[in-house]
């Protein structure tokens, strides 16, 4: 076979492969996001995570963030969640991270639990203290990724949990 014919067939095959991979990644991403977003009348318009605040007898606060992730796609996905609390000077008071590899068709819950002592809670209550959250999504064995990070006043987070 002539070289330009061989090259032509290879290019067509690469185009087909490109479209197949694009479809797999697109389908997995859309299906995972749609399945993981809150649904139902009681959760409509809510955030895609559950936040609980409990107080211990010693006066410390136990904060639990739960992210349910349902992989309804065709490729495995990696999810990483990180939450940090910083005081007004930008010093990290609390940092927690959790990650999971979720095979297709399975559901996993990512849960972050951290305890904020009374002393740290005092620092968090000041104006200027902030909370940072980051969620990272990877698929196609890490070749395609998306991440969303959010910074907000820590006081607002406390109001959200109450």
């Amino acid at each position: 076979m002539r070289p330009e014919k061989v090259l032509g067939i290879s290019i067509v095959s690469l185009h087909v492969l490109y479209v197949v991979i694009l479809f797999l990644v697109g389908y997995t991403t859309v299906a995972t996001i749609m399945a993981s977003l809150p649904s139902g009348p009681e959760q409509e318009g809510g955030m895609p995570f559950d936040l609980r605040l409990e107080e211990t007898e010693a006066g410390a606060q136990v904060m639990t963030l739960a992210f349910p992730v349902h992989n309804e796609g065709l490729l495995p996905v990696d999810i990483r969640v990180r939450v940090r609390l910083l005081n007004q000077a930008g010093v990290v008071l609390v940092e927690e991270e959790s990650s999971r590899n979720i095979p297709p068709g399975q559901s996993e819950g990512l849960e972050l639990t951290f305890t904020i002592s009374e002393e740290k809670l005092e620092q968090v209550s000041h104006a200027g203290a902030r909370a940072e959250g980051m969620i990272e999504y990877k698929t196609l064995y890490g070749l395609v990724s998306a991440s969303a990070s959010l910074q907000m006043a820590a006081a607002e987070l406390r109001q959200g949990g109450e």
Partner: protein, 180 residues
């Protein structure tokens, strides 16, 4: 497919896919959704459709040129290379959601209305697809040059001498009577 048929069919398909269908589809998207996309992730959907439609017209014109001229002509070569560049630009534009220079790495500031004090950033990394496209485009350019070279060489070769039906026919003496 014959050259003239291809010169009509391919540009028509390109115009339909890139100019007509996106305009119809964007007309069906509710105005609130278009506005939400613009505010939350700074994607100007209508602007993108205009750019894609303009590229569609240019690519259809290049496809017409490419399919009208023979493979050995310089016009075919030029239009093929320009067409490949146009397609690569279009794909990078779509991957970069309106910004082809980001090569598939999109960074957007998020504006979340319920949390007024919140600041967010969204980063989407599609560089794998951009790299894949650049590899395909590179191979396609090589193939265009190779095809042009082969077509030009086969055109410049002198045609084979015509075979005379009687003169060049080997003599068949089987039915001849043996010499006395």
């Amino acid at each position: 497919m014959r050259l003239r048929v291809r010169a009509i069919v391919f540009p028509t398909i390109i115009l339909l896919v890139l100019a007509v269908i996106p305009n119809v589809l964007v007309g069906l998207v509710p105005a609130e959704a278009v506005e939400m996309l613009r505010q939350v992730v700074q994607v100007d959907l209508r602007g993108m459709v205009v750019v894609v439609a303009s590229l569609g017209v240019a690519l259809a014109a290049l496809s017409f040129l490419k399919n009208t001229w023979e493979k050995w002509s310089w016009v075919h070569l030029g239009s093929s290379l320009a067409s490949e560049g146009g397609w690569l630009f279009l794909w990078l534009l779509l991957l970069g959601v309106g910004d082809p220079s980001c090569l598939g790495r999109i960074t957007r500031a998020l504006e979340i209305t319920p949390l007024a004090a919140a600041q967010g950033t969204l980063v989407v990394d599609l560089r794998f697809f951009a790299f894949f496209l650049i590899v395909i485009a590179g191979l396609t350019v090589v193939n265009i040059l190779l095809t042009f070279n082969v077509a030009r060489r086969s055109r410049s070769e002198p045609p084979a001498p015509p075979v005379h039906p009687l003169k060049d026919k080997p003599l068949d003496r089987s039915d001849e009577s043996p010499p006395i």
